[in-house]
């Protein structure tokens, strides 16, 4: 018989009480995990948008429309197209402009994001891609692609082979076969899971000639970035205009708000949960007073009794933490997978996702679990100490 088995059996004596106590901790842990996942999600989005800017200074997005399908349905005037690109290009202090079209398509039967780019202006504006193998799409190519490292590895292919790209059913199953000429790596998960293709190919695929989802802009000097962005914002009030500094500012504002909100909730829940543990443990110690006396009579040291009850609290924390991370992970997954829009959209995505979605990371799961564990143990110390320091004679006399 192990100490853990004995502790488990002791906890099993009072299933309902233990269950409620565990639930108390689990709620706190789950809240904290969702918070951490949101923070990680926003962080990833910020990184993605910084990458999206690449070497560009400003990025202009459709405010409400994130893909050609929506543009078609809504027929809004607030749609970026190639004439917008020309207008922006003629603004003062603008050095270069490059249009982009982003969509999710099916590549070799796998969903993946594509970025349709005009290669010449893209290189000029964003400074190109970090090609780790092969070469970049040529300026006049119309049947080539460069793949993100993750996607390339997923297909286990080599340079020179081709990929079959199919638009989603809404776009009449348009398809095209492209030759893979190179592999790029950005370090951003979503970007490395996609591919860059020529703009015209992307537009044909989505039945939307002329349409673009974003415009990258390079100012003639870093000092003029703000001037250019406010100029564009004035000219196109329906667009979102983003610079590196306001990406960071917006994200950190949102981040602070969320951290305060969920952090307070999570901590309050954990503290409340810890009272539950204290309460359960004190009752458990009282009920087992005579057992504690007996334990001491047969030769258990105070430290042994302490260990038994701390182990019990640890197991409570363990269960609470375990259930908490399961619930928290499930909630985070649900929010991100089904794009439950509980949060305001932030203009950071590349048309892939524009609302903040939680990102589960192993370190956050571990951290939340440990918080639950620590709560259990801290809350269990006082009751365990009381058990350890009971006078054996009095304990034995007890009911």
């Amino acid at each position: 018989m192990s100490a853990i088995a004995m502790t488990w059996r002791n906890l099993s004596r009072r299933k309902l009480r233990v269950g409620l106590t565990v639930a108390g901790i689990a709620v706190g842990v789950a809240l904290i995990l969702v918070l951490l996942s949101l923070v990680a999600g926003i962080d990833a989005q910020v990184r993605a948008s910084i990458r999206a800017l690449g070497g560009a200074d400003v990025i202009v997005y459709n405010a409400t429309i994130t893909n050609p399908r929506e543009a078609f349905i809504l027929g809004s005037s607030a749609v970026l197209n190639e004439s917008t690109v020309e207008t922006v290009a003629k603004l003062p202090n603008v050095h270069a402009v490059s249009p982009q079209l982003t969509e999710v398509v099916i590549v070799n039967e796998t969903l993946a994001p594509i970025w349709g780019i005009d290669v010449r202006t893209f290189n000029e504006t964003a400074g190109g891609l970090n090609i780790i193998d092969g070469k970049m799409i040529g300026e006049n190519d119309n049947n080539t692609a460069v793949l993100g490292k993750s996607l390339f590895d997923l297909f286990n292919m080599s340079i020179g082979q081709s990929v079959f790209v199919r638009a989603r059913p809404l776009h009449h199953n348009n398809n095209v076969t492209l030759t893979v000429v190179g592999v790029y790596e950005t370090g951003v998960f979503l970007t490395d899971r996609g591919l860059y293709i020529p703009l015209t190919v992307a537009q044909n695929l989505t039945d939307s000639p002329d349409f673009v989802t974003s415009i990258l802009v390079k100012a003639d000097s870093p000092d003029n970035v703000e001037a250019v962005s406010s100029e564009i914002a004035t000219l196109f009030p329906d667009m979102r205009v983003l610079t590196l500094s306001n990406v960071v500012a917006q994200a950190s504002q949102l981040l602070n708000m969320l951290t305060m909100f969920f952090g307070t909730l999570g901590i309050v829940a954990l503290v409340a949960g810890s009272f539950g543990v204290v309460n359960t443990m004190i009752i458990s110690v009282m009920e087992r007073t005579r057992e504690i006396g007996t334990l001491k009579a047969i030769g258990a040291k105070n430290s042994t009794v302490l260990k038994i009850f701390v182990l019990e609290a640890l197991l409570l924390g363990c269960l609470g933490g375990g259930i908490g991370i399961i619930v928290g992970s499930a909630s985070s997954f649900f929010i991100s997978e089904f794009s439950v829009r509980i949060l305001p959209a932030v203009p950071v995505g590349k048309g892939i996702t524009t609302n903040v979605s939680p990102l589960l990371t192993l370190s956050n799961i571990v951290l939340s679990f440990v918080l639950g564990l620590v709560t259990g143990v801290l809350a269990g110390i006082y009751p365990a100490w009381r058990a350890a320091h009971m006078k054996p004679v009095e304990a034995l006399r007890h009911g």
Binding site: S12, R13, E291, A297, G299, K301
Partner: protein, 228 residues
């Protein structure tokens, strides 16, 4: 006369209740030799359990000494007393005090775990003890699945686990019917005859008293020898 295992010297216990002093035990002198079955009788509240607890290292006297192998255990600190209880004495209680979540086997094994005995040795010892008390076939039952008599025999096995010099029993037959009480005392006699196991039993059960080699009476905190 055989060597003394335990000797109490002018053992006195005074309780304070506010300004009131209650003397539970006054200048008790008692000696137990190896192989004795010593009974302490007396009305309830007379100080019998107090005496037993002080000899067992569960309670400290106000004055006096408890000499065990020449060492005064009243001078030991808490961890030393815990070791004393683990190695030198074994307790048997009126209501058996078995751990409800543990099986019979595990209850007997517990003192061996506390003594940090290796697993193989523990298993062997527990099996042997359960056989000695005649309960091998009930080894995997929990206390609430066992009769009072069976539980008390498991309690004896538990008390014997670390080969104590002395077993202390507080009203061990108080909750048993006469058949089980007889069975209990037969086991005590067996252990006494075959292994020279020494017992100190607090009781007022005549069935127990008739088997004792020494009998003490306590009245109003005064201990007096009446046989042996």
């Amino acid at each position: 006369m055989a060597e003394n295992i335990v000797e109490t010297v002018k053992l006195t216990k005074v309780y304070r209740k506010g300004k009131l002093e209650i003397t539970a035990l006054r200048d008790a002198n008692l000696s137990i030799s190896k192989g004795d079955i010593v009974c302490v009788m007396g009305p309830s509240g007379s100080g019998k359990t107090t005496l037993l607890n002080m000899i067992g290292g569960l309670d400290r006297p106000t004055r006096g000494a408890v000499l065990v192998d020449g060492v005064d255990i009243t001078r030991l600190n808490e961890p030393q007393l815990a070791s004393y209880r683990l190695e030198k004495v074994g307790f048997i209680f009126q209501f058996y005090n078995l751990f409800p979540v543990l099986t019979a086997f595990e209850n007997v094994e517990l003192p061996l775990i506390l003594a940090k005995k290796p697993k193989k040795e523990r298993k062997k010892k527990v099996r042997q003890l359960l056989e000695t008390v005649g309960i091998s076939e009930r080894a995997n039952h929990k206390p609430d699945e066992l009769s009072g008599g069976e539980q008390q025999r498991i309690a004896i096995a538990r008390a014997l686990a670390n080969d104590p010099a002395l077993i202390l029993a507080d009203e061990p037959t108080g909750d048993l019917d006469s058949e089980n009480a007889t069975m209990f005392m037969n086991l005590v006699k067996d252990l006494n005859q075959n292994y020279s196991q020494t017992f100190l039993i607090v009781t007022h059960d005549p069935l127990v008293v008739q088997e004792c080699s020494q009998i003490y009476m306590i009245r109003d905190g005064k201990l007096e020898k009446s046989k042996g």
